[in-house]
């Protein structure tokens, strides 16, 4: 599936002048505006404390902005949103298949009704054979795959990911980056991805939102206009290096350090 070019995409979600202030007058996020378009892969890139996770929680509806607005362009329906946390966040007491089944179960559907979707989602992340395994029997990377399968099982329009691969080794991370892009192409969803890794953000996204801390805010938006599918070739290209350089400079500038 070929995604439409950046300009032609319709808007999925808009953030307008969003501010989140915690008690003690701690401004976690200030004046953030962003329009998330259908098919985007947006990375929120920044140092710790820049409010990127706060922004994600606000988009997930887990907390409300102090000021400003967050709205879905079309009405948000059940299963329109998938979330992947920094930890795999699986229920240890039940099987892989039951973990992936959870979003449907909470909607009151029975396993038989959605068995095909659950297995299909596990197949997409390459873990169909492990449907009866318990989470503790899986490696860190495999647990994260289950978590991704669970986020994708409802075919959501928007998937929010909060540094999902930060705790993995580099080899697993590269493979999961590749697989994530392939999956996104396959199901055609929109992704907002929080990371502190310049390389990861450039490899994955077509838009990078660079953020700074104290107060958390957006300082720059970059476009990575390299076409998908991106492969290992892209990872070693000069084009990739150039984009990384740009993102890195923006990040250093945001942190108030010389590049």
């Amino acid at each position: 599936m070929k995604a439409p070019s950046l300009e032609d995409r319709s808007t999925l979600m808009t953030l307008k002048g969003v501010n989140k202030t915690f008690s003690g007058n701690i401004v976690a996020l200030d004046e953030m505006s962003l329009s998330v378009r259908e098919g985007d892969f947006i990375s929120l890139l920044g140092p710790s404390g820049c409010g990127k996770s706060t922004a994600l929680r606000l988009m997930a509806g887990l907390s409300r902005p102090t000021r400003g607005q967050i709205s879905w362009t079309k009405e948000q329906r059940d299963g329109d949103l998938g979330v992947v946390f920094q930890e795999p966040t699986l229920m240890p007491w039940t099987t892989v298949a039951n973990n992936v089944f959870l979003p449907f179960r909470l909607r009151g559907l029975s396993y038989d009704q959605v068995k095909d979707e659950v297995l299909q989602s596990l197949r997409l992340v390459g873990l169909e054979r492990f449907q009866r395994a318990y989470p503790r029997e899986l490696s860190g990377g495999m647990k994260m795959r289950v978590s991704i399968a669970r986020a994708m099982v409802t075919q959501p329009r928007l998937i929010l990911m909060d540094e999902p691969f930060a705790a993995l080794d580099e080899i697993s991370r590269f493979r999961l980056n590749d697989d994530l892009l392939a999956l996104k192409e396959q199901i055609g969803c929109t992704v907002v991805f929080v990371t502190h890794s310049v390389f990861e953000s450039v490899f994955l996204s077509d838009r990078i939102v660079v953020m700074a801390a104290r107060p958390g805010r957006v300082v720059q938006e970059l476009e990575v206009d390299a076409p998908y599918p991106r492969t290992d070739e892209f990872r070693t290209s000069t084009e990739y290096a150039g984009h990384c350089r740009m993102a890195s400079d923006a990040l250093h500038e945001a942190m108030g350090e010389p590049a």
């Binding site: 979330v83 946390f85 318990y134």
Partner: protein, 291 residues
């Protein structure tokens, strides 16, 4: 894995000499520990019984001061009909009290979890009930409660429900924050959250409290019997101990005591086994460490 299987595996390994000296030593130590865990306390018990017997025989101690192990054994076998009947009675009260402690403790914990107001109002009284010695409450209970069985159950319950309540309360609160968020995102209602998230999270805590409650319900049943006295519902093991004491039948006192201890051990083992079976698939506490 049984010892025989382990031994066979070690033999096989040594035959193919695929393990180095350090690994072989480690396996040998593990095997020794496995056997020793049973053998050492058993040896100690046999030694203690032999020593006890010799002290009685050599010092010609009369049986109404200290009976020999043989006397205790013949009391145990000779009075078996009476003692086993007493054990049935004590055991029944213990198990019923444990059942009530589970229902009451876990039920209250769930109620407290659903209503913070209820928890704030009632929890202090649960603590007061727990810290007041049951021996001092029991005489009052038997004044106001007519049925002896109900009175004994109430005594045993007062002692046993608290560990279930406090550990389940803690467990219901110990839910992974991200999982809680996930349930919110997917629009779970409070029953779904309780049933699919909080109760499974609380299970290991509940089972920990249950193991303590098992021993406590036996203690509660014994105390209740001693306070309630005999008559009415027949005599349990504690009453038999008391009664044998009045008659200077020290051997029977020891025999009944041994049976109470054995009941406690069986109860604890059964609860530990049940707990292990329920958690073995997923919880760290029930899993062997992987090398």
């Amino acid at each position: 894995m049984t010892i025989a299987e382990t031994t066979r595996e070690i033999d096989k390994d040594q035959a193919t000499s695929s393990v180095d000296a350090e690994e072989a030593g480690r396996q040998r130590r593990e095997q020794l520990e496995r056997v020793g865990r049973w053998l050492m306390p058993l040896t100690l018990m046999v030694l203690a019984i032999v020593l006890w017997d010799r002290i009685v025989v050599w010092n010609e101690i009369p049986h109404y001061i200290l009976p020999s192990p043989g006397d205790v054994w013949s009391s145990l076998t000779g009075d078996w009909a009476m003692l086993s009947e007493a054990a049935m009675l004590t055991g029944r009260i213990t198990l019923m009290a444990l059942g009530l402690a589970i229902a009451g403790g876990a039920g209250l914990a769930i109620l407290f979890n659903q209503s913070r107001m209820l928890e704030m109002s009632l929890y202090p009284y649960a603590v007061i009930l727990q810290v007041t010695p049951v021996v001092s409450i029991a005489p009052l209970i038997f004044i106001y409660v007519d049925s002896k069985t109900a009175g004994m159950l109430l005594c045993a319950w007062i002692v046993a429900f608290f560990p279930v309540l406090s550990s389940t309360t803690l467990g219901l609160k110990s839910v992974d924050n991200n999982l809680r968020d996930l349930f919110r995102i997917y629009g779970a209602n409070r029953w779904q959250r309780l049933w699919l998230l909080q109760l499974p999270s609380a299970l290991p805590y509940f089972l920990g409290g249950l193991k303590i409650a098992g021993g406590l319900s036996l203690i509660g049943a014994v105390v209740a019997e001693l306070v309630a006295g005999t008559g009415g519902v027949g005599a349990g093991l504690a009453s038999r101990i008391q009664e044998a004491g009045y008659r200077l039948n020290i051997a029977r006192m020891f025999a009944a005591l041994a049976m109470i201890a054995a009941m406690g051990v069986v109860l604890f083992s059964a609860l530990s086994l049940a707990s292990h079976m329920m958690l073995r698939k997923w919880h760290e506490s029930a899993m062997g460490r992987e090398a």
